[in-house]
Amino acid sequence: MTTVQDLPQIKGVKNIPISEGYTSGHRTCQGCESALVMRLMIKAAGQRTIVVGSTGCMYVANTTYYSTPWVVPWMHTQLGSSGSAATGTAAGLASMMRKGKMHKEPINVIAFCGDGGGADMGLAAISAALQHDEYNLLILMYDNESYANTDIQASGSTPYGANTTFSPPGKETRIMNKRWKKNTAPMLAVGHPDVKFVATANGSYGLDFNNKIRRALTIGGPTFIHSIDPCPKGWDYDPKFSHELGMLIVETGLWVQYEIIEGELTLNGPSRAIARGIRKRKPVEEYLMRQGRFAHFTKEDIKIFQDRVDESWEKWWLPGVIPVTMGQD
């Protein structure tokens, strides 16, 4: 296995590196949290990094010929290929360094994908990448809860009932998307016991985000981070509320912030306070009703949501994380 870079955990906001790897030149919507995620990601990783990105908003809206925002080497990969892109990049570097064809140095390899590219189409390739212990790589799934770039269509990571262009509420059927959001990070953590780092993240908690990226890049082997990214266009809210919605999804308990380091789970930030009973969960209605995509919800729809969130915190074996309850004996 190749060595990793020395990227210590950042203690305090003031110690976040000022250098930028993702700058002007992109055309994402105002208030796009995924764009912030890109910036936080590369800030933490630094310049000796190769980034590969799947098709989606973070390809199409970011990189237009002649106006790339990327200061680091960047390459597009296919919608379902973040796993194989990371593996191929890391394997190419590892092989050439081992054989003396390239100067030996630890180079970070990060492949990102959206929820459509990751939780749906690219799941098998991500799973395969997570089995290759010999390569150091990070797969970051930025989850804006839809196929955003193609005009907001429902993915396996879209919340129940959300209005998307493939699940519009109609005269006959109010709830078109009856699927509950995929529980991607735990699925990958549980399914790949040798992976040393799996985490959830959220651009509203910037320092935590930076440090998770650094942990993922320095722990060795393949790693996975799932971030939740408010998307003003797809979620239908005023762009100035992105940061606030990012916090609300955690405070309502709908999204849980955690990291699994070598098999040990730690809840972070508000999620930890909720689990310890220090903080009460806000009602999900406060989060849902701020977004146009849930505007058609009735009281019953909101209740379905609230009940499921309550159940995940009260009945699940690992609250909010693993949807398994203990049997009677």
Partner: protein, 409 residues
Amino acid sequence: MTTTATNELFQTEKEELISGSEAIALACALADVDVITAYPIRPYDTVMQYVSKLKADGSFDCDFIVAESEHSQFEIVKHASSVGARTFTGSSGVGWFYAFEAITVTAGLRLPVVAMVGNRALDDPGAFGVEHNDALAVRDLGWMLYWVATAQEALDIALLAWRVAEDPTVFLPFAVSCDGSFLTHSQAIVNVPTSEQVNKFLPPYDRGKLQLHPDNPITIAPQVNEDWLMEMRRQSDEAMHRSVGVIKKAYEEFKEIFGRGDPSPFVEEYMTEDADIIIVGMGTLALPVRVAVRRFQEAGRKIGFVRVKFFRPFPTEELQEILTKCKAVCVVDRDYSYGAPSYGGVLFTELRSALYPMEKRPLMLNFIAGLGGREVHVNDVNDMVDIVQKAIETGIIEQEATWIGVRDN
């Protein structure tokens, strides 16, 4: 800082009884390939069985990755190639099609991946045998495409493939097509060259200014849309044009260093001098056709054979020159193209297009044969020649495309 390793296995030249797949596996080791990806599908995957054994025995240092699908197989080598690693992969039939998205972008990105296609019928209904439709599907995309006929040629052309694909004036992927079973699994005596010879012929892969690396922080494949795509498509077209000269030069050097090869890298001629009828085909079809041609010639009939080796770039000029000298051309397609002009096969349609500008055009008849791995016998070749002969005599082509060796019920 690039070096090519000298492999212990290949200190002296030797002759070995090996299959086409094994020959290509040895070519991988000789070329010191860096990243190889495998996924099982018959018949190509025998090459990966040999590669993995070479690696397990410590005879070949490469990153050998067992992918979870053909799509990933081709994506992994695509990305390894972008950081400067020499790569090899392959597939067959529906596996090749499963990888198709990755296959097309590899050419679009001008990445010199070398792939083996073990030609196989496209299921359903299930069939393991050879058909050329799998590899032919890339003909419009910017892949160089070559059909080999012997295990020796498989080894030789694999080496040529990296040399041409990685030439910075070309930078296009290269598919080495091998007929399933007839080539992938059939053994023949192969002259295995030394590492020293190969190193002389094959320089290290240098991605230059296009290498994805922190020292060269470029952005690869941003959105270009109607602003730039057409210019880029034309660049690929120009690269394919340039490959012709690069192939010629590389082949001449190949012959000098290894002491074998045909007069032309693009086509093989067999008894075509003064021929009235020239049979044209690709791959291992050459074996029964050569036998039939020999017998015709012994009986005083002027029948010759041309084997098209490179399908892309298509050897237009060579074929124009050879085929305009005869009275009739008998094109044998081991493929189908339902609804194509005259309901002919792919090779036939291309050849007819290549000969259209010529002042003197031969009669052209097409035969669809040997699909799904069905053997093409000498008798089948005789039947085709009879039909062509009749067309010459009557001046009438009753049917341009005929299926040969098909049961009526």
